[in-house]
């Protein structure tokens, strides 16, 4: 399934009471409040989920699958993001969590450990051959990819064309399940246990691929209440659970495990969309060519702080570090096998990354010139305080919205206040003149 206009979040008008919280945090100015409710500008939204994080009314709904809706397939494999392992209090190992997933109705639960190692090798092999302009930009966070496609179309060719660990893990798990059960591949359903709604975007419409290997995603926050009691059952049963996760896999919960052939001083790691925007701006200006690789995460603490996680991200990060220490540090990847599969293109994206520029102010240049002039004229008369009361996030976006007929200048409360004050002053002056006049008559 591909749908170029798909979004993984929806605003629920019945729950939204029109506060400005989401409007203010949206990093791409993709939200407006119209007639008391938040609405999305579809060609600007990058599905980062910042609006979900700040909404106090649960009016921003992620379109992930409901855990109860996952039945009905011949064989279902759960593939948890490493962020899932950091969400439970106490000494809960990844093996216990995987077993709890199997006990809760999934036919199998697979880790990202091998695929994380494989992708690190694939990055190393790709860089050994790459001769294009630097730096390359990580493509594993779907929100970062959408941001580049929308706002930095000149940089799409600098997105790393290597598959993400979750895609590689889903492919391998499906192949294994098909081989184990004799089922055809398309009857095996891969479900990603996701820390954010953005992963839904790459499932429905994967940039750089014809189709994703993952079939659906369930949010950690939806699964958490169901999984917690099953985890306790697994712990109290003292059943021996296999421990298949590795330290490297856990590391990917908050950053990319880069190969040693990319020295840290030649790479940049950037967290949080405001910072990602600044870095992409600099790359766009050609300023960062001395760097080989820029790792970009939409969320400030990496995937452990995704909009669908439940634990405090700093606690989750500390837990990931503790788990890393207790898990085996072995590299599961066989270098010779890896090279052969790399040469067959098994870890590469298959189609170029597309650009998705938002629609311009006018369809032809003459209209665009007229509208841009009008926009500047309107903007010059606005207070420039970006209060948001008009329903647009900034005075500049409001001016554009007025030009495009999506807002009216009278919605600016500051301008209206000024007009009211003038009117009152005029009335007061008229009143004073009338009193004086009457006074004269009496005399």
């Amino acid at each position: 399934m591909t749908d170029a206009h798909y979004h993984s979040i929806r605003f629920d008008a019945s729950a939204c009471h029109g506060c400005m919280a989401c409007l203010r945090v949206c990093p791409t100015q993709a939200i407006r409040v119209r007639r008391g409710h938040a609405v999305m500008i579809e060609d600007r939204c990058i599905d980062c989920g910042e609006c979900i994080k700040v909404c106090a009314k649960n009016a921003v709904v992620p379109l992930t699958a409901s855990p109860s809706g996952l039945g009905g397939y011949d064989y279902t494999v759960a593939i948890p993001s490493p962020a899932l392992y950091t969400q439970f209090d106490g000494e809960v190992t990844p093996g216990t969590i995987l077993q709890a997933l199997r006990n809760s109705g999934f036919d199998e639960a697979a880790t990202l450990s091998w695929s994380c190692g494989a992708v690190t090798h694939a990055i190393e092999l790709y860089f050994a051959e790459y001769r294009g302009p630097g730096p390359l930009i990580s493509s594993f966070c779907p929100s970062v990819v959408r941001l580049v496609q929308i706002k930095y179309p000149e940089l799409v060719d600098q997105l790393l064309p290597v598959l993400s660990p979750r895609e590689v893990a889903a492919r391998e798990a499906k192949r294994k399940a098909a081989a184990d059960t004799g089922l055809p591949l398309d009857r095996v359903h891969a479900v990603y246990v996701t820390p954010c709604p953005a992963k839904m975007v790459s499932i429905v419409d994967h940039p750089g691929m014809e189709a994703s290997y993952i079939d659906s995603a369930v949010g950690i926050s939806d699964l958490f209440p169901l999984l917690a009691p099953v985890i306790r059952e697994v712990q109290t049963s003292h059943a021996k659970v296999p421990e298949t996760e590795t330290a490297a896999g856990l590391g990917w919960a908050f950053s990319i495990n880069l190969p040693s052939t990319l020295p840290a001083e030649d790479t940049l790691s950037v967290w949080g969309l405001p910072n990602v925007l600044r870095i992409l701006d600099d790359i766009d200006k050609g300023k960062l060519q001395r760097y080989t690789f820029v790792e970009c995460h939409a969320c400030f603490e990496g995937c452990v702080s995704g909009a669908l996680t439940v634990e405090n991200p700093y606690v989750a990060r500390a837990r990931a570090l503790r788990l890393q220490q207790s898990l085996p540090k072995r590299d599961l990847v066989d270098a010779a096998e890896m090279r052969a599969r790399h040469e067959r293109g098994e870890f590469r994206t298959t189609v170029p990354f597309a650009v998705r520029p938002p629609s311009p102010l006018g369809r032809d240049i003459v209209t665009a010139i007229a509208r841009m002039q009008e926009r500047d004229g309107i903007a010059a008369g606005l207070p420039g305080i970006d209060c948001g009361a008009c329903g647009s996030p900034t005075c500049a976006t409001f001016a554009e919205d007025v030009v495009m007929g999506e807002a009216e200048q009278a919605q600016c409360v500051v301008l209206r206040q000024g007009q009211l004050e003038e009117q009152l002053a005029r009335l007061a002056a008229q009143g004073a003149a009338a009193t004086q006049e009457r006074g004269r008559e009496i005399r």
Partner: protein, 142 residues
Amino acid sequence: MTEAEFVRAYEIVGADFTNAGRASTSIKETLKNMGLASALIRRVAIAAYEAEMNTVMYARRATMTLHVTPADVTIDVQDEGPGIPDIQLAMQEGYSTATAAMREMGFGAGMGLPNIRRNADQFAITSEVNRGTALVMTVHVG
């Protein structure tokens, strides 16, 4: 019928490294918002950025003006500053009067003016020592 023209002026302050690059970012966003071709935008954006950085590094202040007509995009920059005594020399690739501190910040490769000329379809520069420099670069839309 090419009377339509969009004009916007930006004030650039010398030595203001905190805001350096904002005017050229805004120019780029504006051209994108007007639906111009991405290759053209890139050429204008590079030239605008180099011109903006020249002001920040060498001049006291400047006005950078963006003009868009259906036929061309023009950037003109009028600065108040030391001026350029030998323009021919300044146009040579690799020639720079950047200080050690500027080079430390990654500037001063002597590519600024050559880069502006390379990205322009039309280019003109005049300068008066101790007064300032005026630069006009145009890229054709067609």
